[in-house]
């Protein structure tokens, strides 16, 4: 119940914000009868309406994970974000081994299999991408190559 009420409220706020930012769209002066504003306004309108309906007629709450799992999910998100930033400057092998290892540990918390998974996925995928599929990947940071 409460989840859907919050979701509905967030939807309404996002939709209103979207509608407001759509007002600042510039129009070229060879405009068509409808212009570039109308459709975004329509979207925002339908979204506000649907958000209100969800607020007023909420479904039963889903089963949210316990705080510990939320923490684990937050860690996973941080790992993926870090991986996104690291992929280019750090080369493929090291960030991939780390990220895959951590994710593996999070799904099944055993250190050795997770470490093995991380390293072998990293090396295996590197070989696959680099040689079988011919993508241009760096193994390690470029500085190391001299």
């Amino acid at each position: 119940m409460i989840s859907d009420r919050i979701f509905g409220l967030v939807t309404v706020i996002v939709a209103l914000a979207y509608g407001v930012s759509a007002t600042s769209i510039q129009t070229s002066f060879l405009a068509d009868p409808v212009g570039p504003h109308l459709f975004p306004y329509l979207i925002a309108g339908v979204m506000v309406l649907s958000g209100l309906i969800v607020m007023l007629r909420p479904d039963p709450d889903p089963e949210w994970p316990p705080m510990r799992s939320v923490g684990a999910l937050a860690v996973a998100v941080v790992v993926l974000v870090g991986y996104a930033y690291a992929l280019r400057p750090m080369g493929f092998l090291i960030p991939t081994a780390l990220a895959a290892g951590i994710l593996s540990y999070q799904i099944s918390p055993r250190v050795v299999p997770a470490a093995v998974t991380g390293v072998s996925l990293s090396v295996g995928l590197f070989l696959l991408f680099k040689y079988a599929l011919g993508l241009g990947l760096f193994a390690v940071p470029r500085d190391w190559l001299g």
């Binding site: 979207i43 979204m47 649907s50 007629r57 999910l73 280019r88 099944s108």
Partner: protein, 501 residues
């Protein structure tokens, strides 16, 4: 007849060694993708698209590869349904109902072979249906102006939204999220940037592949982390695989009926394979009555949903190719592939790019035979694949997703966006908000808006133009009905919950 001349040309393309190889590789990958729980066809096709794209395959090759994957996934979904009681993908849900009991009764091999044959019958006949029906549909191209297209897109949202969710308002929100994202970027009509906040990177809008991989693959990883991986050990024994001729013969009418039902469900925009297998199973259950013993591991209960879902998979290609409107979540992803390859699906596809269409159809016919071989005599290979534990599989899928998206644009911005979509997908699915309409919105948003604005240009701003033809009015009525009807039917056709055993 025209169809056969075209088909001959198609086979000319499909029988090149390279294309054949792609079909085989696609079938193999597809069956694996379908078989692995947590890696459904939409997921699998989505993460493979960026890679296909980076390989620089031409349009026909890429399409052959990906549709083979698509068909393969539909076949493969049944394997984990039968052996693990976990559907490999959503359409295979119904197969658990009789497949798992049959396997537990010591007939795992029979269940796999029978469902493999049923898949073959459904997919083969549906491909033939596609072959004859699609060119007919594409002839109405010239009847479709901006007003008709607008109504057609609306229909796609209404029916997909209506069926994909248990709550119409949530489906509408999902559609709006997708449509809203689609507005970002250069405005097609005036060429002015919209909602880019001065970011040059957003000028081209949000790449739908980023959204798809985020919403499907990355979100899946979060679910597995939350649940610490489901128990995926095989609980039933699979010994010798023999061909249960008697069961196959006994279910011949079931297969044919289910194929017809599945195909029709597939052709309807938005309905797709899940509905196809559901309707096929339910109608066979009704025909058999109480004495049929559905749910206890009977042959008809295994054959019906598999023929139905594979027929629907073929049927869903009809609206996707001829009208540019996907009939299911996975075809929405295939539509994304076509758009990436700069092929505009729609009525003109059959005249502009016959080599693409007929090469594809011929390859699908071949793929079916390849899949029959793989899924009946060689099925044990895929059973082994099921033993890959989720703590290896999911990190692997994530890394493939990252490299795939990274190779598309080389930008960490897209990767961050993808993670963001992953989080969004997780939260929305928790809240029972369907994510497929988001994809559909991103894919079709600009087309839908363009149709509306073109209609207004042609009519000089007269809104009644939207309802000025019989086709347009018919589509509007169907759209409203498709959105409203599930609210009433939901009480009648309550989807059965998964057997928890």
């Amino acid at each position: 007849m025209d169809v056969f001349a075209n088909l001959a040309m198609g086979f000319g393309i499909a029988f090149s060694p390279f294309t054949l190889m792609l079909a085989v590789v696609g079938c193999f990958l597809g069956t694996i993708i379908g078989a692995l729980p947590g890696l459904g066809p939409s997921n699998g096709v989505a993460i493979l698209i960026p890679i296909t794209f980076t390989l620089g395959l031409d349009a026909t090759s890429a399409l052959v590869l990906m549709t083979s994957v698509y068909y393969g996934a539909m076949y493969g979904g049944r394997i984990s349904s039968i052996l693990l009681n976990i559907p490999g993908d959503e359409p295979a849900l119904m197969t658990t109902l009789d497949g798992y009991p049959m396997a537990k009764a010591g007939r795992a091999g029979d269940a796999l072979v029978l469902s493999g044959v049923a898949s073959f019958v459904g997919a083969l006949l549906a491909t033939m249906g596609l072959m004859f029906l699609a060119p007919l549909l594409s002839r109405i191209a010239y009847q479709f102006g901006p007003a008709e297209y607008f109504a057609l897109y609306l229909l796609a949202f209404c029916t997909l939204g209506g069926i994909a969710s248990n709550n119409q308002a949530k489906a509408a929100i999902a559609s709006c999220i997708g449509l809203g994202i689609a507005m970002i970027g250069l405005d097609n009509q005036s060429g002015m940037p919209r909602l880019t906040f001065g970011h040059l990177h957003l000028m081209d809008g949000v790449d739908f592949l980023v959204a798809i991989v985020g919403l499907f693959a990355v979100a899946e990883v979060f679910f597995f982390i939350e649940s610490h991986g489901k128990d995926t050990s095989i609980g039933v024994k699979l010994e010798k695989v023999t061909i249960p001729w008697r069961d196959i013969f006994a279910t011949r009418w079931t297969m044919l009926r289910s194929t017809v039902i599945g195909f029709i469900a597939g052709v309807l925009p938005g309905a797709g394979a899940s509905l196809g297998s559901f309707l096929a199973y339910m109608s066979e259950k009704t025909i058999a009555g109480e004495k049929g013993g559905f749910g206890t591991g009977v042959a008809k209960g295994v054959a019906a949903p598999e023929a139905g879902n594979n027929a629907a998979a073929g049927g869903a290609l009809v609206p996707m190719l001829t009208l540019g409107v996907p009939g299911s979540g996975t075809t929405a992803v295939l539509l994304a592939l076509l758009m990436t390859l700069n092929i505009t699906p729609g009525p003109t596809l059959f005249t502009d790019r016959p080599e693409v269409v007929w090469g594809l159809i011929a390859s699908l016919l071949i793929a079916n035979f390849v899949l029959l071989l793989m899924n009946v005599p060689l099925v044990k290979i895929f059973v082994r694949v099921l033993q890959v534990p989720p703590w290896v599989l999911l990190p692997g899928v994530t890394m493939i997703s990252f490299v795939g998206i990274f190779s598309l644009s080389g930008s960490y911005f897209d990767l961050l966006l993808m993670v963001g979509f992953g989080v969004l997908g997780y939260v929305l699915r928790k809240l029972d908000v369907p994510t497929v309409p988001i994809i559909l919105g991103i894919l079709l948003g600009n087309h839908m808006e363009d149709s509306l604005r073109r209609a207004m240009v042609l009519s000089g701003g007269d809104w009644t133009y939207l309802f000025s033809s019989a086709i347009a009015i018919g589509l509007w009525i169907a759209a409203v009905a498709g959105f409203v009807a599930p609210m009433f039917l939901r009480k009648v056709l309550k989807k059965p919950q998964r057997v928890t055993d």
